[in-house]
Amino acid sequence: MAAPARGGRAGGHAARRLPGERSLLGGVRADRIRGRGADPLAERGGRRGPPALGGAAGRAPERPPVRPRDLVGLLPLALYLAGFTVVPVASTLALSVSAPGGGITLDHFRRIAGHYQFGEAVVNTVAVAGIGLALELLLGLAAALALIGRPAGRKSLGAIRTPVDWVGTRGLALFTVAVADAWKVTPLVMLILLAGLQAIPGELYEAARTDGASRWRQFAAITLPLLKPALTMALIVRGVDAFRIFALPLALTGRGLPVLSTYAYVEYLEYGNPHTSAASSAILLIMILLAVGTYLKLAGPEEVLR
Protein backbone atom coordinates (compact mmCIF):
# COMPACT_ATOMS: atom_id res chain seq x y z
CA MET A 1 0.00 0.00 0.00
CA ALA A 2 2.88 2.32 0.71
CA ALA A 3 4.39 2.09 -2.77
CA PRO A 4 1.33 3.07 -4.80
CA ALA A 5 0.67 5.93 -2.42
CA ARG A 6 4.14 7.27 -3.07
CA GLY A 7 3.58 6.83 -6.78
CA GLY A 8 0.42 8.86 -6.58
CA ARG A 9 2.19 11.66 -4.82
CA ALA A 10 5.00 11.69 -7.36
CA GLY A 11 2.44 11.81 -10.13
CA GLY A 12 0.82 14.74 -8.44
CA HIS A 13 4.06 16.65 -8.25
CA ALA A 14 4.87 15.99 -11.89
CA ALA A 15 1.42 17.10 -12.94
CA ARG A 16 1.79 20.31 -11.04
CA ARG A 17 4.97 21.17 -12.87
CA LEU A 18 3.35 20.89 -16.28
CA PRO A 19 3.74 24.19 -18.12
CA GLY A 20 0.71 26.20 -19.05
CA GLU A 21 -1.45 24.84 -16.28
CA ARG A 22 -3.90 27.38 -14.99
CA SER A 23 -6.34 27.13 -12.19
CA LEU A 24 -8.90 29.74 -11.38
CA LEU A 25 -9.49 27.96 -8.12
CA GLY A 26 -6.04 29.05 -7.11
CA GLY A 27 -5.65 25.68 -5.47
CA VAL A 28 -3.27 22.90 -6.18
CA ARG A 29 -5.94 20.27 -6.34
CA ALA A 30 -7.70 21.21 -9.54
CA ASP A 31 -4.35 21.27 -11.36
CA ARG A 32 -3.53 17.83 -10.24
CA ILE A 33 -6.78 16.31 -11.34
CA ARG A 34 -6.68 17.81 -14.80
CA GLY A 35 -2.99 17.13 -15.13
CA ARG A 36 -3.41 13.50 -14.33
CA GLY A 37 -4.42 12.37 -17.81
CA ALA A 38 -1.45 14.05 -19.48
CA ASP A 39 1.13 12.73 -17.09
CA PRO A 40 2.74 9.37 -17.66
CA LEU A 41 3.50 8.78 -14.00
CA ALA A 42 -0.08 9.41 -13.02
CA GLU A 43 -1.22 7.34 -15.98
CA ARG A 44 0.66 4.38 -14.63
CA GLY A 45 -1.07 4.66 -11.32
CA GLY A 46 -4.34 5.48 -13.04
CA ARG A 47 -6.22 2.30 -12.30
CA ARG A 48 -6.14 2.92 -8.56
CA GLY A 49 -6.57 6.62 -8.86
CA PRO A 50 -9.75 7.36 -6.93
CA PRO A 51 -10.01 10.98 -5.86
CA ALA A 52 -9.89 9.99 -2.21
CA LEU A 53 -6.36 8.72 -2.60
CA GLY A 54 -5.30 11.88 -4.35
CA GLY A 55 -6.75 13.78 -1.44
CA ALA A 56 -4.80 11.75 1.06
CA ALA A 57 -1.62 12.44 -0.85
CA GLY A 58 -2.47 16.14 -0.93
CA ARG A 59 -2.47 16.28 2.83
CA ALA A 60 1.01 14.77 2.99
CA PRO A 61 3.53 16.90 4.84
CA GLU A 62 5.64 17.59 1.75
CA ARG A 63 3.92 20.32 -0.16
CA PRO A 64 4.75 22.30 -3.24
CA PRO A 65 6.21 25.75 -2.71
CA VAL A 66 3.66 28.53 -2.41
CA ARG A 67 3.34 30.34 -5.71
CA PRO A 68 2.28 33.97 -6.11
CA ARG A 69 -1.04 32.96 -7.64
CA ASP A 70 -1.98 31.08 -4.48
CA LEU A 71 -1.96 34.44 -2.74
CA VAL A 72 -3.91 36.50 -5.30
CA GLY A 73 -7.16 36.36 -3.33
CA LEU A 74 -5.40 37.73 -0.28
CA LEU A 75 -4.14 40.80 -2.06
CA PRO A 76 -7.24 43.07 -1.84
CA LEU A 77 -7.69 42.26 1.84
CA ALA A 78 -4.02 42.84 2.63
CA LEU A 79 -3.90 46.12 0.73
CA TYR A 80 -7.07 47.30 2.40
CA LEU A 81 -5.91 46.51 5.90
CA ALA A 82 -2.50 48.03 5.23
CA GLY A 83 -4.01 51.24 3.90
CA PHE A 84 -6.81 51.69 6.39
CA THR A 85 -5.36 50.14 9.54
CA VAL A 86 -1.59 49.86 9.57
CA VAL A 87 -0.94 53.26 7.98
CA PRO A 88 -3.36 55.12 10.28
CA VAL A 89 -1.91 53.50 13.38
CA ALA A 90 1.60 54.32 12.20
CA SER A 91 0.60 57.93 11.64
CA THR A 92 -0.98 58.04 15.10
CA LEU A 93 2.32 56.84 16.55
CA ALA A 94 4.15 59.48 14.52
CA LEU A 95 1.69 62.12 15.68
CA SER A 96 2.29 61.18 19.31
CA VAL A 97 5.99 62.03 19.12
CA SER A 98 6.02 64.88 16.63
CA ALA A 99 6.58 68.40 17.85
CA PRO A 100 4.24 71.07 16.45
CA GLY A 101 7.20 72.91 14.90
CA GLY A 102 8.73 69.72 13.47
CA GLY A 103 11.12 67.24 15.03
CA ILE A 104 10.62 64.54 17.62
CA THR A 105 9.50 65.19 21.16
CA LEU A 106 8.16 63.34 24.18
CA ASP A 107 6.31 66.43 25.43
CA HIS A 108 2.88 64.99 24.68
CA PHE A 109 3.59 61.98 26.84
CA ARG A 110 4.89 64.19 29.63
CA ARG A 111 1.79 66.29 29.37
CA ILE A 112 -0.68 63.44 29.68
CA ALA A 113 1.42 61.87 32.43
CA GLY A 114 0.85 65.04 34.45
CA HIS A 115 -2.89 64.91 33.82
CA TYR A 116 -4.62 63.23 36.77
CA GLN A 117 -7.45 61.95 34.55
CA PHE A 118 -4.93 60.03 32.48
CA GLY A 119 -3.62 58.06 35.46
CA GLU A 120 -7.19 57.35 36.45
CA ALA A 121 -7.94 56.19 32.89
CA VAL A 122 -5.05 53.71 32.96
CA VAL A 123 -6.16 52.25 36.30
CA ASN A 124 -9.80 52.11 35.19
CA THR A 125 -8.93 50.41 31.92
CA VAL A 126 -7.01 47.66 33.67
CA ALA A 127 -9.64 47.27 36.40
CA VAL A 128 -12.60 47.08 34.03
CA ALA A 129 -10.74 44.60 31.83
CA GLY A 130 -9.80 42.46 34.84
CA ILE A 131 -13.23 42.35 36.45
CA GLY A 132 -15.00 41.97 33.12
CA LEU A 133 -12.76 39.11 31.98
CA ALA A 134 -13.13 37.24 35.25
CA LEU A 135 -16.92 37.51 35.08
CA GLU A 136 -17.09 36.57 31.42
CA LEU A 137 -14.88 33.52 31.79
CA LEU A 138 -16.70 32.25 34.88
CA LEU A 139 -20.16 32.80 33.44
CA GLY A 140 -19.17 31.63 29.98
CA LEU A 141 -17.66 28.45 31.38
CA ALA A 142 -20.68 27.83 33.61
CA ALA A 143 -23.01 28.31 30.65
CA ALA A 144 -20.99 26.10 28.33
CA LEU A 145 -20.79 23.36 30.96
CA ALA A 146 -24.52 23.60 31.65
CA LEU A 147 -25.30 23.35 27.95
CA ILE A 148 -23.09 20.36 27.39
CA GLY A 149 -24.04 18.63 30.64
CA ARG A 150 -20.49 17.93 31.75
CA PRO A 151 -19.48 17.68 35.36
CA ALA A 152 -18.43 20.88 36.97
CA GLY A 153 -17.27 21.47 40.49
CA ARG A 154 -19.91 23.40 42.33
CA LYS A 155 -17.14 25.44 43.85
CA SER A 156 -16.30 27.13 40.57
CA LEU A 157 -19.87 28.34 40.27
CA GLY A 158 -19.97 29.55 43.82
CA ALA A 159 -17.39 32.17 42.97
CA ILE A 160 -20.00 34.06 41.00
CA ARG A 161 -21.90 34.77 44.17
CA THR A 162 -18.91 36.26 45.91
CA PRO A 163 -19.92 39.83 46.63
CA VAL A 164 -17.60 42.61 45.58
CA ASP A 165 -17.18 44.68 48.69
CA TRP A 166 -15.98 47.90 47.14
CA VAL A 167 -17.69 50.98 48.24
CA GLY A 168 -17.66 54.42 46.81
CA THR A 169 -19.02 55.55 43.50
CA ARG A 170 -15.90 54.82 41.48
CA GLY A 171 -15.71 51.21 42.58
CA LEU A 172 -19.40 50.85 41.87
CA ALA A 173 -19.04 52.44 38.44
CA LEU A 174 -16.15 50.12 37.58
CA PHE A 175 -18.22 47.14 38.58
CA THR A 176 -21.30 48.33 36.71
CA VAL A 177 -19.36 48.81 33.50
CA ALA A 178 -17.66 45.44 33.87
CA VAL A 179 -21.00 43.68 34.46
CA ALA A 180 -22.55 45.40 31.45
CA ASP A 181 -19.59 44.32 29.32
CA ALA A 182 -19.90 40.78 30.64
CA TRP A 183 -23.59 40.77 29.77
CA LYS A 184 -22.74 41.75 26.23
CA VAL A 185 -19.98 39.26 25.48
CA THR A 186 -20.52 36.25 27.74
CA PRO A 187 -22.40 34.41 24.94
CA LEU A 188 -19.33 34.82 22.74
CA VAL A 189 -17.04 33.41 25.41
CA MET A 190 -19.54 30.62 25.96
CA LEU A 191 -19.41 29.68 22.27
CA ILE A 192 -15.62 29.52 22.23
CA LEU A 193 -15.61 27.34 25.35
CA LEU A 194 -18.47 25.19 24.10
CA ALA A 195 -16.49 24.37 20.97
CA GLY A 196 -13.55 23.49 23.21
CA LEU A 197 -15.69 21.26 25.43
CA GLN A 198 -17.18 19.44 22.46
CA ALA A 199 -13.68 18.48 21.40
CA ILE A 200 -13.03 16.59 24.65
CA PRO A 201 -13.71 12.87 24.10
CA GLY A 202 -16.47 11.51 26.33
CA GLU A 203 -14.51 8.29 26.94
CA LEU A 204 -12.24 10.19 29.29
CA TYR A 205 -15.15 10.91 31.60
CA GLU A 206 -16.38 7.32 31.40
CA ALA A 207 -12.94 6.09 32.38
CA ALA A 208 -12.77 8.60 35.21
CA ARG A 209 -16.18 7.51 36.52
CA THR A 210 -15.13 3.87 36.35
CA ASP A 211 -12.12 4.76 38.46
CA GLY A 212 -14.41 6.48 40.92
CA ALA A 213 -13.25 10.04 40.37
CA SER A 214 -15.45 12.70 41.93
CA ARG A 215 -17.15 15.29 39.75
CA TRP A 216 -14.83 17.99 41.01
CA ARG A 217 -11.82 15.79 40.32
CA GLN A 218 -13.08 15.09 36.77
CA PHE A 219 -13.43 18.81 36.22
CA ALA A 220 -9.97 19.60 37.57
CA ALA A 221 -8.14 16.70 35.93
CA ILE A 222 -9.89 16.41 32.56
CA THR A 223 -12.01 19.42 31.66
CA LEU A 224 -9.74 22.26 32.72
CA PRO A 225 -6.46 21.01 31.20
CA LEU A 226 -8.07 19.97 27.92
CA LEU A 227 -9.95 23.23 27.75
CA LYS A 228 -6.78 25.28 28.04
CA PRO A 229 -6.47 26.16 24.33
CA ALA A 230 -10.08 27.38 24.20
CA LEU A 231 -9.61 29.31 27.45
CA THR A 232 -6.44 30.90 26.10
CA MET A 233 -8.28 31.87 22.95
CA ALA A 234 -11.17 33.39 24.85
CA LEU A 235 -8.87 35.23 27.22
CA ILE A 236 -6.75 36.81 24.50
CA VAL A 237 -9.58 37.75 22.16
CA ARG A 238 -11.68 39.17 24.95
CA GLY A 239 -8.74 40.71 26.77
CA VAL A 240 -7.78 42.77 23.76
CA ASP A 241 -11.37 43.96 23.39
CA ALA A 242 -11.68 44.73 27.07
CA PHE A 243 -8.68 47.06 26.99
CA ARG A 244 -10.28 48.98 24.14
CA ILE A 245 -13.65 49.40 25.87
CA PHE A 246 -15.25 52.69 24.89
CA ALA A 247 -19.00 52.94 24.44
CA LEU A 248 -20.09 51.35 27.72
CA PRO A 249 -18.20 53.64 30.13
CA LEU A 250 -19.28 56.64 28.09
CA ALA A 251 -22.93 55.60 27.98
CA LEU A 252 -23.17 54.42 31.59
CA THR A 253 -21.14 57.08 33.39
CA GLY A 254 -20.65 59.96 30.97
CA ARG A 255 -17.29 61.38 32.04
CA GLY A 256 -17.48 59.68 35.39
CA LEU A 257 -15.21 56.80 34.49
CA PRO A 258 -12.47 57.72 32.04
CA VAL A 259 -10.75 54.78 30.33
CA LEU A 260 -7.92 55.12 27.83
CA SER A 261 -10.17 55.08 24.76
CA THR A 262 -12.52 57.71 26.12
CA TYR A 263 -9.56 59.77 27.31
CA ALA A 264 -8.11 59.79 23.79
CA TYR A 265 -11.55 60.67 22.45
CA VAL A 266 -12.04 63.61 24.78
CA GLU A 267 -8.53 64.93 24.14
CA TYR A 268 -9.13 65.03 20.40
CA LEU A 269 -12.81 65.78 19.89
CA GLU A 270 -13.34 68.11 22.83
CA TYR A 271 -9.97 69.68 23.55
CA GLY A 272 -8.89 69.50 19.92
CA ASN A 273 -5.44 68.15 20.70
CA PRO A 274 -4.54 65.34 18.29
CA HIS A 275 -1.06 64.96 19.81
CA THR A 276 -2.11 64.06 23.34
CA SER A 277 -4.91 61.93 21.93
CA ALA A 278 -2.36 60.06 19.80
CA ALA A 279 -0.04 59.73 22.80
CA SER A 280 -2.73 58.06 24.91
CA SER A 281 -3.62 55.80 21.96
CA ALA A 282 0.04 54.83 21.82
CA ILE A 283 0.02 53.99 25.53
CA LEU A 284 -3.09 51.87 24.99
CA LEU A 285 -1.39 50.03 22.13
CA ILE A 286 1.66 49.37 24.29
CA MET A 287 -0.52 48.07 27.12
CA ILE A 288 -2.33 45.69 24.76
CA LEU A 289 0.94 44.43 23.30
CA LEU A 290 2.39 43.93 26.77
CA ALA A 291 -0.66 42.04 28.01
CA VAL A 292 -0.86 39.77 24.98
CA GLY A 293 2.90 39.27 24.90
CA THR A 294 3.05 38.33 28.57
CA TYR A 295 0.17 35.94 28.25
CA LEU A 296 1.57 34.31 25.12
CA LYS A 297 4.85 33.85 26.89
CA LEU A 298 3.15 32.20 29.83
CA ALA A 299 0.75 30.06 27.83
CA GLY A 300 3.04 29.16 24.93
CA PRO A 301 2.36 30.59 21.46
CA GLU A 302 1.39 27.27 19.93
CA GLU A 303 -1.71 27.25 22.12
CA VAL A 304 -3.18 30.28 20.51
CA LEU A 305 -4.06 29.67 16.91
CA ARG A 306 -5.10 26.06 16.94
Binding site: L24, P51, R63, S277
Partner: protein, 265 residues
Protein backbone atom coordinates in the same frame (compact mmCIF):
# COMPACT_ATOMS: atom_id res chain seq x y z
CA UNK B 1 -31.65 16.75 32.35
CA UNK B 2 -30.69 17.05 35.96
CA UNK B 3 -32.26 19.74 38.08
CA UNK B 4 -29.11 21.80 38.77
CA UNK B 5 -28.33 21.98 35.06
CA UNK B 6 -31.76 23.17 34.05
CA UNK B 7 -31.93 25.72 36.85
CA UNK B 8 -28.49 26.91 35.78
CA UNK B 9 -29.77 27.31 32.23
CA UNK B 10 -32.87 29.12 33.44
CA UNK B 11 -30.65 31.50 35.38
CA UNK B 12 -28.55 32.13 32.30
CA UNK B 13 -31.61 32.76 30.17
CA UNK B 14 -32.81 35.24 32.76
CA UNK B 15 -29.41 36.93 32.80
CA UNK B 16 -29.47 37.19 29.03
CA UNK B 17 -33.06 38.33 28.53
CA UNK B 18 -33.54 40.43 31.68
CA UNK B 19 -32.01 43.68 30.42
CA UNK B 20 -33.90 43.39 27.11
CA UNK B 21 -37.13 42.99 29.01
CA UNK B 22 -36.43 46.05 31.16
CA UNK B 23 -35.65 48.10 28.05
CA UNK B 24 -38.93 47.15 26.41
CA UNK B 25 -40.81 47.64 29.66
CA UNK B 26 -39.46 51.15 30.28
CA UNK B 27 -40.31 52.15 26.72
CA UNK B 28 -44.02 51.42 27.30
CA UNK B 29 -44.34 52.39 30.98
CA UNK B 30 -46.01 55.53 32.30
CA UNK B 31 -43.26 57.81 33.75
CA UNK B 32 -44.69 57.55 37.27
CA UNK B 33 -44.09 53.83 37.27
CA UNK B 34 -40.36 54.10 36.53
CA UNK B 35 -39.29 57.34 38.18
CA UNK B 36 -39.82 56.16 41.72
CA UNK B 37 -37.56 54.88 44.43
CA UNK B 38 -38.95 51.37 43.94
CA UNK B 39 -39.80 50.68 40.31
CA UNK B 40 -41.77 47.50 39.80
CA UNK B 41 -40.53 44.62 37.73
CA UNK B 42 -43.89 43.76 36.22
CA UNK B 43 -45.72 46.31 34.05
CA UNK B 44 -48.88 47.85 35.46
CA UNK B 45 -49.80 50.70 33.18
CA UNK B 46 -49.17 50.62 29.46
CA UNK B 47 -48.58 53.65 27.25
CA UNK B 48 -47.40 54.21 23.70
CA UNK B 49 -46.76 57.88 24.42
CA UNK B 50 -42.94 57.53 24.32
CA UNK B 51 -43.05 55.70 21.02
CA UNK B 52 -45.34 58.37 19.57
CA UNK B 53 -42.98 61.14 20.68
CA UNK B 54 -39.94 59.24 19.37
CA UNK B 55 -41.42 58.73 15.91
CA UNK B 56 -43.16 62.10 15.60
CA UNK B 57 -40.02 64.07 16.40
CA UNK B 58 -38.62 62.62 13.16
CA UNK B 59 -35.11 62.40 14.55
CA UNK B 60 -34.85 58.67 14.72
CA UNK B 61 -35.76 57.45 11.23
CA UNK B 62 -32.84 59.06 9.33
CA UNK B 63 -30.28 57.44 11.69
CA UNK B 64 -32.14 54.14 11.38
CA UNK B 65 -31.92 54.35 7.59
CA UNK B 66 -28.27 55.35 7.64
CA UNK B 67 -27.35 52.48 9.95
CA UNK B 68 -29.33 49.94 7.92
CA UNK B 69 -27.63 51.02 4.69
CA UNK B 70 -24.16 51.12 6.26
CA UNK B 71 -24.47 47.72 7.94
CA UNK B 72 -25.81 46.09 4.77
CA UNK B 73 -22.97 47.47 2.68
CA UNK B 74 -20.38 46.51 5.29
CA UNK B 75 -21.65 42.93 5.34
CA UNK B 76 -21.63 42.67 1.54
CA UNK B 77 -18.21 44.27 1.14
CA UNK B 78 -16.75 42.17 3.95
CA UNK B 79 -17.83 38.94 2.23
CA UNK B 80 -16.55 40.13 -1.17
CA UNK B 81 -13.13 41.01 0.23
CA UNK B 82 -12.72 38.29 2.83
CA UNK B 83 -14.08 35.24 0.97
CA UNK B 84 -11.37 35.08 -1.74
CA UNK B 85 -8.72 35.71 0.88
CA UNK B 86 -10.11 32.99 3.13
CA UNK B 87 -10.38 30.57 0.23
CA UNK B 88 -6.71 31.05 -0.53
CA UNK B 89 -5.79 30.88 3.14
CA UNK B 90 -7.56 27.56 3.57
CA UNK B 91 -5.57 26.10 0.68
CA UNK B 92 -2.18 27.34 1.86
CA UNK B 93 0.27 25.21 3.85
CA UNK B 94 -0.60 25.49 7.52
CA UNK B 95 2.59 27.35 8.38
CA UNK B 96 1.63 30.15 5.97
CA UNK B 97 -1.97 30.06 7.04
CA UNK B 98 -1.26 30.49 10.72
CA UNK B 99 1.33 33.15 10.04
CA UNK B 100 -1.18 35.19 8.07
CA UNK B 101 -3.99 34.58 10.55
CA UNK B 102 -1.69 35.73 13.33
CA UNK B 103 -1.02 38.87 11.30
CA UNK B 104 -4.76 39.45 10.97
CA UNK B 105 -5.12 39.00 14.71
CA UNK B 106 -2.40 41.57 15.32
CA UNK B 107 -4.24 44.03 13.07
CA UNK B 108 -7.40 43.41 15.06
CA UNK B 109 -5.52 44.20 18.27
CA UNK B 110 -4.78 47.77 17.24
CA UNK B 111 -6.83 50.26 19.27
CA UNK B 112 -9.68 51.90 17.36
CA UNK B 113 -8.88 55.30 18.82
CA UNK B 114 -5.52 55.09 17.09
CA UNK B 115 -7.17 54.21 13.78
CA UNK B 116 -10.05 56.66 14.06
CA UNK B 117 -7.97 59.79 14.59
CA UNK B 118 -5.93 59.81 11.33
CA UNK B 119 -8.85 58.36 9.36
CA UNK B 120 -11.07 61.21 10.56
CA UNK B 121 -8.43 63.77 9.59
CA UNK B 122 -8.08 62.29 6.10
CA UNK B 123 -11.84 61.81 5.57
CA UNK B 124 -12.41 65.45 6.50
CA UNK B 125 -10.08 66.38 3.66
CA UNK B 126 -11.76 63.95 1.28
CA UNK B 127 -15.25 65.17 2.16
CA UNK B 128 -16.25 61.78 3.55
CA UNK B 129 -17.45 62.99 6.95
CA UNK B 130 -21.10 62.08 7.60
CA UNK B 131 -21.11 59.88 4.48
CA UNK B 132 -22.16 56.26 4.34
CA UNK B 133 -19.13 55.55 2.13
CA UNK B 134 -16.70 56.81 4.75
CA UNK B 135 -18.37 54.85 7.50
CA UNK B 136 -18.38 51.63 5.44
CA UNK B 137 -14.67 52.09 4.66
CA UNK B 138 -13.91 52.63 8.34
CA UNK B 139 -16.04 49.76 9.63
CA UNK B 140 -14.46 47.35 7.19
CA UNK B 141 -11.06 47.78 8.84
CA UNK B 142 -12.37 46.17 12.02
CA UNK B 143 -14.66 43.63 10.36
CA UNK B 144 -12.31 42.16 7.76
CA UNK B 145 -9.91 40.27 10.05
CA UNK B 146 -12.81 38.55 11.82
CA UNK B 147 -14.62 37.75 8.57
CA UNK B 148 -11.46 36.31 7.03
CA UNK B 149 -10.91 34.23 10.15
CA UNK B 150 -14.41 32.77 10.18
CA UNK B 151 -14.38 32.05 6.46
CA UNK B 152 -10.98 30.37 6.62
CA UNK B 153 -12.40 27.95 9.19
CA UNK B 154 -15.37 27.43 6.87
CA UNK B 155 -13.33 26.66 3.76
CA UNK B 156 -10.98 24.44 5.75
CA UNK B 157 -13.97 22.30 6.72
CA UNK B 158 -14.98 21.70 3.10
CA UNK B 159 -13.21 18.51 2.00
CA UNK B 160 -11.14 18.96 -1.12
CA UNK B 161 -12.37 15.60 -2.33
CA UNK B 162 -15.75 17.20 -3.00
CA UNK B 163 -14.17 19.76 -5.31
CA UNK B 164 -12.12 17.05 -6.96
CA UNK B 165 -15.21 14.95 -7.55
CA UNK B 166 -16.94 17.93 -9.15
CA UNK B 167 -13.93 18.52 -11.39
CA UNK B 168 -13.88 14.86 -12.41
CA UNK B 169 -17.56 15.14 -13.26
CA UNK B 170 -16.64 17.82 -15.76
CA UNK B 171 -17.19 21.03 -13.81
CA UNK B 172 -14.91 23.87 -14.80
CA UNK B 173 -13.00 25.59 -12.04
CA UNK B 174 -15.57 28.38 -11.85
CA UNK B 175 -18.47 25.96 -11.89
CA UNK B 176 -16.90 24.00 -9.07
CA UNK B 177 -16.38 27.16 -7.08
CA UNK B 178 -19.88 28.46 -7.70
CA UNK B 179 -21.96 25.28 -7.59
CA UNK B 180 -20.05 23.28 -5.01
CA UNK B 181 -17.68 25.19 -2.79
CA UNK B 182 -19.73 28.32 -2.23
CA UNK B 183 -22.93 26.31 -1.72
CA UNK B 184 -21.21 24.29 0.97
CA UNK B 185 -19.85 27.47 2.52
CA UNK B 186 -23.28 29.07 2.96
CA UNK B 187 -23.43 28.56 6.77
CA UNK B 188 -20.00 30.13 7.22
CA UNK B 189 -20.79 32.95 4.81
CA UNK B 190 -24.00 33.59 6.74
CA UNK B 191 -22.15 33.78 10.03
CA UNK B 192 -19.44 36.05 8.64
CA UNK B 193 -22.00 38.32 6.99
CA UNK B 194 -24.14 38.44 10.10
CA UNK B 195 -21.16 39.25 12.31
CA UNK B 196 -20.07 42.02 9.95
CA UNK B 197 -23.61 43.39 9.93
CA UNK B 198 -23.94 43.26 13.70
CA UNK B 199 -20.57 44.87 14.21
CA UNK B 200 -21.35 47.77 11.93
CA UNK B 201 -24.87 48.13 13.34
CA UNK B 202 -23.68 48.74 16.89
CA UNK B 203 -20.36 50.42 16.14
CA UNK B 204 -19.97 53.59 18.17
CA UNK B 205 -16.40 54.86 18.29
CA UNK B 206 -15.59 55.22 14.58
CA UNK B 207 -19.07 56.62 13.96
CA UNK B 208 -18.44 59.27 16.62
CA UNK B 209 -15.20 60.35 14.99
CA UNK B 210 -16.66 60.39 11.49
CA UNK B 211 -19.93 62.18 12.24
CA UNK B 212 -20.57 65.89 12.26
CA UNK B 213 -24.34 65.92 11.80
CA UNK B 214 -25.85 62.80 10.24
CA UNK B 215 -25.95 60.38 13.15
CA UNK B 216 -26.07 56.61 13.06
CA UNK B 217 -28.50 54.70 15.27
CA UNK B 218 -26.09 54.10 18.18
CA UNK B 219 -25.20 57.80 18.23
CA UNK B 220 -28.88 58.71 18.25
CA UNK B 221 -29.55 56.39 21.18
CA UNK B 222 -26.58 57.91 22.97
CA UNK B 223 -28.01 61.35 22.24
CA UNK B 224 -31.26 60.49 24.03
CA UNK B 225 -29.27 58.99 26.89
CA UNK B 226 -27.14 62.12 27.13
CA UNK B 227 -30.34 64.19 27.26
CA UNK B 228 -31.32 62.13 30.26
CA UNK B 229 -34.60 60.95 28.74
CA UNK B 230 -34.91 57.33 29.82
CA UNK B 231 -38.10 56.69 27.93
CA UNK B 232 -36.94 57.92 24.55
CA UNK B 233 -33.64 56.09 25.15
CA UNK B 234 -35.48 52.86 25.90
CA UNK B 235 -37.80 53.22 22.91
CA UNK B 236 -34.94 54.06 20.53
CA UNK B 237 -32.85 51.22 21.93
CA UNK B 238 -35.77 48.83 21.42
CA UNK B 239 -36.09 50.08 17.85
CA UNK B 240 -32.38 49.42 17.41
CA UNK B 241 -32.62 45.92 18.89
CA UNK B 242 -35.55 44.81 16.72
CA UNK B 243 -33.61 44.41 13.43
CA UNK B 244 -30.95 42.42 15.30
CA UNK B 245 -33.48 39.94 16.65
CA UNK B 246 -35.26 39.81 13.28
CA UNK B 247 -32.08 39.13 11.32
CA UNK B 248 -30.69 36.54 13.75
CA UNK B 249 -34.09 34.86 13.84
CA UNK B 250 -34.32 34.69 10.05
CA UNK B 251 -30.81 33.32 9.70
CA UNK B 252 -31.21 30.93 12.63
CA UNK B 253 -31.30 27.77 10.54
CA UNK B 254 -27.95 28.62 8.97
CA UNK B 255 -26.26 29.19 12.30
CA UNK B 256 -24.52 26.33 13.99
CA UNK B 257 -22.62 26.35 17.21
CA UNK B 258 -19.45 25.18 15.51
CA UNK B 259 -19.31 27.91 12.90
CA UNK B 260 -20.25 30.45 15.54
CA UNK B 261 -17.34 29.31 17.65
CA UNK B 262 -15.02 30.11 14.79
CA UNK B 263 -16.84 33.40 14.56
CA UNK B 264 -16.16 34.22 18.13
CA UNK B 265 -12.54 34.64 17.24
Amino acid sequence: MRAPTSSMLALLAFWAVGPLYLMLKVSVSPPGEVMTARPTLLPHGLTLEHWRRLLEAGQVLPPLGKSLLTAGLVAAAALLLAAPAAYNLARLPSRWRYGILLGLFLVRMLPEVGIALPVAVVFLRWGLMDSVTGLVLAHLTLVLPVAAWVLTTTFLAIPREVEEAAALDGCSAWQTLWRVTLRLAVPGLTVAGLLAWLFSWEEFLLATYLTLGAKTMPLQVYYYLYQGNWFLTAAAATLMTAPVLLLTGLLQRHLRATSLAGAAR
